[in-house]
Amino acid sequence: MKKILIIATVLFFFSCSEKTQSPVQKVHDIKELGTLATTEYTYGKILQLNDDKEWYKIGDRKILISVRAKVKAGVDLTKMNEQDVVEKDDQTIQLTLPAPEIVSFDMNPNDIRTEMQDINGFRANFSQDEKVKILQLGETSIREELKESNILSDARKNARVFLTDFYKDMGYETVIIDFKPSEERGTK
């Protein structure tokens, strides 16, 4: 009986021991980059939402939000390797650059404005949470649509001009710049 009591006491204390705390996870991340942004486009868009689809909700809600996005495009120099820079002779250098891509996408909160909202019936006002969700839809839409603009071709043109000048300052007379084919026209 005494033994059982001792075992039970030991088990009791061990079962109640405090769990070891997992180390605090670092949220931040530091990464090395090498993106040469050569063009910046400022896009504007009106986000219109008509929240009147559900038949059982009494009343409608409409909202118009204007947004602006600053998008930079250029080339990622970290994707280059040794074979991509070839000095043909003392006067000529040949470069093969990675395909231009979107290197940054920013939507400054100061450039976001609710232009109009109309709420009737028994509907509630648009909450800030809902507005953020509308903005997220807008962001996705801008990221998709900007692929149709000339941002990448402008980035390619400007990268060529900048790097030609850069190498000419180093004494080269002929700078040949080619671009690798685009892997994916995604947005960062």
Binding site: G44, K57, S141
Partner: protein, 217 residues
């Protein structure tokens, strides 16, 4: 007699259950018809306009990403206001849960903002100059600086929204988060990392036999 009272009790329980069920159903219907959930929202199609095009030459060398909690809180000024405020919240389907414990918080908006700070060099800056002498290339540039502080809606979450808030409150919190991100990145000594990365990138752009000397102004 005892049997009769037992039947009465059963009937009372059944009736109470039916009433409770009806109340729950009514509350559910009211909530369903008035509460607004984003559901399957779809934006109407408006074209994307290009407002401005700028030729730039910015070399981003280091990126710092982090998450910031940005919070705005307003308290009741006195007990009278707190009491009246909590009573009025009890009648509100969205806010009653905040009033049950008689909270001193009038309203609160908390955001979790994920963002990115990019350090690098503005190569359009007048200080940027490339010269050469023999096999040595001299690059002169300004010190690294913050090129972008990026905050986008897809990385923004409203953690708590208690009470009514205007857009400018949310915008202020997002701006505060941008500022915090920039300050935090400043403590990471990213300038040195930025310089190292610049030199490594420039070496990559040079043909093998050339030497590189970078100076910062």
């Amino acid at each position: 007699m005892a049997r009769n009272s037992k039947t009465e009790l059963v009937r009372l329980v059944i009736n109470m259950s039916i009433i409770a069920g009806l109340v729950v159903l009514a509350l559910f219907l009211i909530r369903r018809c008035t509460a607004d959930e984003d559901g399957e929202w779809e934006l109407e199609n408006h074209p994307l306009r290009v407002e401005n095009i700028r030729k730039i030459a910015e070399l981003s060398t280091v990126s710092y990403t982090d998450e910031v909690v940005s919070d705005s809180i307003e308290y009741y000024e006195d007990f009278g206001e707190q009491f009246a405020g909590n009573v009025s919240k009890l009648a509100d389907l969205e806010s009653w849960k905040y009033a049950v414990r008689g909270s001193a918080i009038k309203r609160r908006l908390t955001l979790i903002v994920g963002g990115e700070v990019r350090y690098g060099f503005d190569l359009k800056d007048t200080t940027f100059r490339v010269t050469y002498s023999g096999d040595t290339v001299f690059v002169q540039t300004a010190a690294p600086k913050i090129l972008d502080v990026i905050v986008v809606p897809s990385k923004t979450t409203i953690f708590q929204e208690h009470g009514q808030w205007q857009d400018n409150a949310r915008i202020q919190l997002q701006q505060k988060a941008r500022l915090i991100l920039a300050v935090r990145s400043g403590k990471m000594e990213l300038e040195q990392k930025s310089k190292q990365q610049l030199e490594s990138l420039l070496k990559k752009l040079l043909a093998d036999k050339r030497k590189l000397i970078v100076t910062y102004r």
